[in-house]
């Protein structure tokens, strides 16, 4: 991939503008529960963790999909073909980060980098979400985040737990 989406939780203020912008673009409404990016907010600790799709080199969601509805493009972006999706939810259970979810009809949806111009980045004033060429320090941070893997049926539960683990890493 030429550019990668990175989350830098230390800079996240918890404003959720990325979430609102994402849902407005993808769903045409302000619809945070349907956003492709989420923020886990730990107010007592003064810390917020963006939850983004890492576009994994070996995507668990893709491997788990029995309908071959999930594919990885040449540029590394992992995409869902909703025509092929049968709503089984295997991908949601397989993703260790809670980064893929299902809509009311059961169809899977996830981040696709908005075709190379992610609006979450445009809305992020503090610079907690950046879209740029690979960088050594950011790669290290991303690697640490990707090690926080969880199993659960619900994407929401995984997001919160992964967020909590990332917060703990940052504070240790």
């Amino acid at each position: 991939m030429e550019k990668i989406l990175y989350a830098i939780p230390d800079l996240c203020t918890g404003c959720n503008r990325c979430v609102y912008a994402c849902s407005a673009i993808k769903e045409g409404k302000f619809y945070p529960s349907r956003s492709r990016i989420h923020i886990s907010n730990f107010s007592l600790n003064g810390y917020s963790v963006p939850n983004i799709c890492f576009q994994c080199p070996k995507p668990d969601c893709l491997t788990a999909c029995p309908c071959k509805a999930i594919s990885q493009q040449e540029n590394g972006i992992v995409q869902v073909d909703t025509e092929k999706c049968d709503g089984c939810g295997e991908c949601v259970a397989a993703c260790p980060y809670g980064a893929i979810d299902q809509d009311d009809k059961g169809l899977a949806y996830k981040c696709d980098y908005c075709g190379g111009d992610p609006n979450c980045v445009t809305e992020c004033t503090p610079g907690a979400i950046v879209y740029q060429a690979e960088d050594k320090e950011l790669r290290r941070l991303r690697g640490l985040q990707m090690k926080q893997r969880l199993t659960s049926k619900k994407a929401e539960d995984k997001r919160i737990q992964v967020g909590r683990q990332i917060m703990r890493l940052a504070r240790d």
């Binding site: 609102y20 912008a21 409404k29 619809y31 529960s33 007592l44 003064g46 919160i160």
Partner: protein, 590 residues
Amino acid sequence: MNLYAGKILIIDLSKKSVSIQPLRKEWLKKYWGSWGLALRYYYDSVTADVDPLSQENTMVIMTGPFCGTLVPTSSRFCLVSKSPYTGTVFETNTGGSFGPELKFAGYDGIIIKGRAESLQYLRIADDTVSLEDAQDFAGKGIFETESLLREAAGLPEGKTLSIGPAGENLIGYACVGTESYRQMGRGGAGAIFGSKNLKGIICRGTGSIQVADMEGFREKAFQYKNDNVLTDANLWASTDGTPVLVDVINEMGILPTRNFTYGTFDDRAGINTTAVKAAKKGDRACVSCPLACGKFTHINGIEMEGPEYETLCLAGSNCEVNELEKVSHFNRLCDDLGLDTMSCGNTVALAMDLAEKGRHDFGLRFGKTKDYLEIVTEIATLSTTRGKELAMGVKRLAEKYKSHDLTTQIKGLEMAAYEPRGNYGMGLSYATSERGACHMRAFTGFSEDVFNLEKQAREVVKSQNFNCIKWSTGLCDFWGSVTHEILADLLSCGLDETVTPSELALAGERIWNLSRIFNLQAGFTIDDDSLPEKIMNQPLEKGPHAGNVFKEEDFKTALKLFYQLRGWDEKGVPSQEKLAQLGLDDLYHF
């Protein structure tokens, strides 16, 4: 429905009932949301003589039309009721994420009436709404309660409003807390929750908010954010947050110090913005806000968001306490136990002053931190004699010790952190606020000619009216450069209707007048639009305004001008002509 969820949740705690009403659309164009709409609903739900802590009283929680959208700083939402502390109607608002969550659950607001037989919490998960047992949470602080509510309700992403022991103990200046360090602070909303046996509310909303033209709306919100919010006029909130005011207000000579005795605090280096920045770990924002004025700090094991300016002054300089660690700890205890730091700081300062004057010794001294932290817990839990006395607040404590000369309150609410003897507009603003001595109605701190009575009266009226509509659309004070024109532009685009700046200006004036009507009906008169004796008779010490008072005759002149500008008679009663102009004549007749 565009910009609104379209429904109001009605909770009757006595009947244990939950019902849903469609939003009163005929009120939207007159009151818009949040403060205005809550006030209109509240006015409809009680009579003005209602006892605030009785089951007959109601409380209205309301969001605004921009809440849950990308309009910058738009997540604030409010509570309107009759204050158990002042007996006036009052509005108290906060940011965070509860307001948007409520809208995503499908409700613009909640009306709560009655009283539960035992401690309960309200659980809202989209269209599943229920009252649940909260007896196990009795006496718990807000921090723990927030996490217990998420666990008990099975809503890990739920947003909460809750009270601590101070609210359960019906302390007049108990607040309602949300997201750990944010509060509906002033006027005793926590005590109303307590009187209703309501420990808290947890809400999870997974729905959406629509706007008429999403692309146009997003574009406008983005442009205003870049060109009107993230600009020199507002960026102080981002770089420093409110602690910057410690030095700024000191420089102006209106930093309340030693129970409103001095206008400056020489020893402020320990509690100014430099000190807060040195302890800062990160910036924190309410939902939708690109400014992030919250400063998360760590100092000697005390971790919290804040302290904010009002606390740094009223619990800091006003008590002559100059250690950030102590002020932070005081603030954190208040946040957890559920006390308003502004009223609490003022009350502790009065207790210190009573000792100084030899009238009563509470063990508290100006500039000393012995018992300064212990007293917070004693107040909230009513566990000691002195705790019970300080829990009464400044007005009643001063009455008990016959110390009217030392009080710093108006209508029973303690003054905010701006000395009126060095800024007459702030004095007039405090005296005419519907909820007592509050700085969130009209702020003249940065105006010119601060002793020009006519200019100040004009500015106070203009600022009150504008803030009425600004708070009613749910925006934050710190989008300081927003205008009627910007509000009208965003509303027009979001609703696909023509909304004019002038109708918004009129709505602001209408909201202010409706508060006035309620207070008149509740028995308040011109005599309550007053200043503390101290401000009128005792010269301010230290700083550029040393020697100043706000003389009673000058204050009366300013008040008379204020009434005239408002179209009120010499006793502060709105004329029938004014009420007719505002469309309020059907609500009030003399």
